[in-house]
């Protein structure tokens, strides 16, 4: 009887899921480490995978500059909501799976040395749904931006309001929009970044209200879910419906930006958006960021070590998308 040696990697499982990811767009098998290195964008077809809140913060902010605030905010169960599972169990399961307390992370950080108040959503936590905690974090981020007169950045990734919190989740639309109105009145800028997906009550509140709206290529962005739409109207949906490019074509997104250029574009915009000090004579004075050694050294290093994935010149979003798709 032949001795069967245990094989280290069974043939059937040549692409174990913890090492490989199949691109849903081009079916290419991607090595996870390389995928992470490429900011989770498929190098073959440019498909943008979803980013966790932590990875998103890493990719946007100056390294080591993020200081998280309101870490301890956690949802209650105001309705005593039970479907297949009680709501608190769902929250607990999501916390275990993601290591987050809710679907948003917020704090203060810098981009090219300019301080920003930032709030980032994580789709992995109950579909990024907005309940009291997400609404509160977005609102507090806006209030901090207002108090410190620094730009507000929100990166959305959400299916919409959280059903399990009922109308109290709906009221988060009012809470966040009201805070953004105050920001606008105080002339503090707000930059909204929509990633895949940004739908429902999140799209119909803070995500759509940016002074500048950026979106990632092919991100699903829309108000009503496809099933709702299909169930209500008996007509075929146009191709590319509710995608970032659709929103761009109809004038609700300023720029569709490839992820590798996102930080660069945000930094570029911040140079214009950073609130101006209003002088006593009514003139405006640009506030320059304080000197930041890390940013300075990083910019030097960028020049010393040319990186093919980091184009020096800002590439127009449309062109870069076509390049990525082609």
């Amino acid at each position: 009887m032949p001795i069967k040696l245990p094989s280290f990697r069974p043939h059937k499982d040549a692409h174990p899921p913890d090492l490989w990811t199949k691109c849903p767009s081009c079916s290419e098998m991607l090595f996870n480490k390389q995928l992470d290195k490429a900011d989770r964008v498929c190098p073959t077809c440019g498909h943008h995978f979803r980013l966790s809140a932590g990875a998103r913060l890493d990719s946007l902010l100056d390294r080591g500059s993020f200081r998280e605030l309101d870490v301890g905010l956690q949802s209650l169960d105001p309705l005593g909501f039970v479907d297949q599972k009680p709501y608190p169990d769902r929250v607990a399961a999501a916390q275990m799976a993601t290591g987050l307390r809710d679907a948003a992370v917020r704090g203060i950080g810098t981009i090219e040395g300019r301080p920003v108040s930032i709030c980032v959503m994580d789709f992995g936590f109950m579909g990024g749904s907005m309940g009291a905690v997400v609404g509160e974090k977005v609102t507090r981020a806006a209030e901090d931006a207002l108090a410190d007169r620094i730009p507000l950045i929100i990166v959305s990734a959400s299916g919409g309001a959280r059903m399990q919190e009922g109308t109290l989740a709906l009221m988060q639309l009012a809470k966040t929009c009201a805070a953004l109105e105050r920001l606008r009145a105080a002339r503090v800028p707000y930059l909204s970044i929509m990633s895949d997906p940004t739908t429902g009550g999140v799209f119909a509140s803070y995500a759509v209200l940016g002074d500048v709206n950026l979106a990632e290529p092919n991100a699903l962005i829309g108000f009503a879910g496809a099933r709702v739409t299909a169930g209500t109207i008996a007509q075929e949906l146009p191709s590319g419906f509710q995608r970032a490019e659709f929103l761009f074509d109809h004038g609700f997104v300023d720029r569709v930006v490839h992820r590798r250029e996102l930080r660069h574009e945000v930094a570029l915009l911040l140079r214009y958006l950073a609130p101006a000090e209003i002088g006593t004579d009514g003139s405006t004075v640009e506030v320059r960021p304080t000197f930041d050694p890390i940013g300075f050294l990083s910019s030097l290093a960028d020049k010393v070590v040319p990186d093919a994935s980091q184009p020096e010149e800002p590439v127009p979003a449309r062109a870069s998308r076509e390049a990525a798709d082609g």
Partner: protein, 333 residues
């Protein structure tokens, strides 16, 4: 309150006490009743000198939303409300009361005008939801709703919102941000339709009644949650049975609130409205895991970081959670 309890017990057969699920479902049906009085019917009963205004000045006029001026007990007001049709023909013209973006933009135009003229605003909410569909998305339904909500949060004039029938999600909230929110007894208010909620969480729309109960969408429950301030009892079997009496009950309450709000200094009024919504949502602040204070980093540390290639590509890959790429929970509106 006593009236209402009596009213309810009159409707229930004495030997079959209503269970909670059947009760809330009965209210959903009443809120959707085809003969339920709409904005124009209620105003027609309670106000004089009604003038309707049309058009959003950008695209067109949306018949699903009506807006204009009226005189209520001597008070000049601006009104905005959704208007469902009473029959199929009117419903087609009014798109079953589901507004497109231009409807909300018309509403915003009239509300801004009201602010400039110093007129208080009364809104009537009765909508299954904003119209879902390509035209709506193309013209920016999300943008219209968000801007309307934002506008109402800061308007420097009193706003009384009345939920008269269905308070369907963002399409309702877009005209329901107010200093005081009144609901008719059988009105319902929810973040998503009970059918939508059931089809997502229970995987079948047949559980709509269960979802309606779980979402606590009845006017009483909404009052308990603090979303609704005042619940107005309906006559007999419901508002549709006696629209005149419904308007007669509603009118003194709206007028009373307008007078009360009119006496407040404007700054106080707007601040109180902001606080009303600022306070909504139930969360707790648990002791966070020991927060590592941001280290004061010396130049040496920073240079060491720069030379460490593993920290170059914008941080280390996050294992586990970042691999998730499941289909979006799109219907969670």
């Amino acid at each position: 309150m006593v009236d209402r309890l009596l009213g309810r017990s009159r409707e229930a057969p004495p030997d079959a006490p209503l269970d909670a699920k059947a009760d809330v479902w009965r209210r959903v049906q009443l809120a959707r009743n085809l003969r339920r009085p709409r904005t124009l019917e209620l105003l027609g009963e309670m106000a004089e000198e009604i003038v309707e205004l049309h058009g959003d000045r950008g695209f067109g006029d949306d018949a699903a939303i009506v807006a204009g001026f009226a005189r209520l007990d001597g008070h000049r007001i601006a009104f905005v409300g959704q208007q469902k049709g009473a029959d199929t023909e009117e419903n087609i013209r009014r798109n079953f009361g589901m507004p497109h973006p231009e409807g909300y933009r018309k509403s915003m135009r009239v509300m801004e005008l009201a602010e400039r003229l110093g007129l208080p605003i009364v809104t009537f909410v009765d909508v299954p939801g904003a119209h879902p569909g390509p035209e709506s998305e193309e013209r920016g339904i999300a943008d219209a709703i968000a801007r309307s909500v934002g506008l109402m949060s800061r308007l420097r004039t009193p706003i009384v919102a009345v939920i008269t029938g269905e308070g369907g999600s963002g399409g309702a909230l877009a005209i329901a941000v107010g200093d005081v929110v009144i609901a008719l007894e059988n009105a319902v208010y929810s973040v998503i339709s009970p059918e939508g909620c059931a089809s997502i969480l229970w995987r079948t729309a047949d559980e709509a009644a269960t979802a309606a109960l779980a979402m606590k969408m009845s006017a009483d429950d909404q009052q308990a949650l603090g979303v609704v301030d005042i619940v107005v009892p309906e006559p007999g079997e419901g508002a549709h049975a006696d629209p005149v009496e419904t308007a007669r009950r509603l009118r003194p309450i709206i007028v009373g609130e307008l007078e009360r709000l009119g006496r407040l200094p404007t700054d106080e009024l707007v601040e109180a409205r902001y606080r009303r919504y600022r306070a909504m949502g139930a969360y707790t602040e648990v002791a966070a895991p020991a927060v590592v204070p941001p280290p004061v980093r010396g130049l040496g540390d920073r240079l060491r970081d720069l030379l460490d290639p593993t920290r170059w590509s914008g941080g280390n890959p996050i294992p586990g959670p970042s691999r998730r790429d499941e289909p979006p929970a799109r219907e969670e509106v």
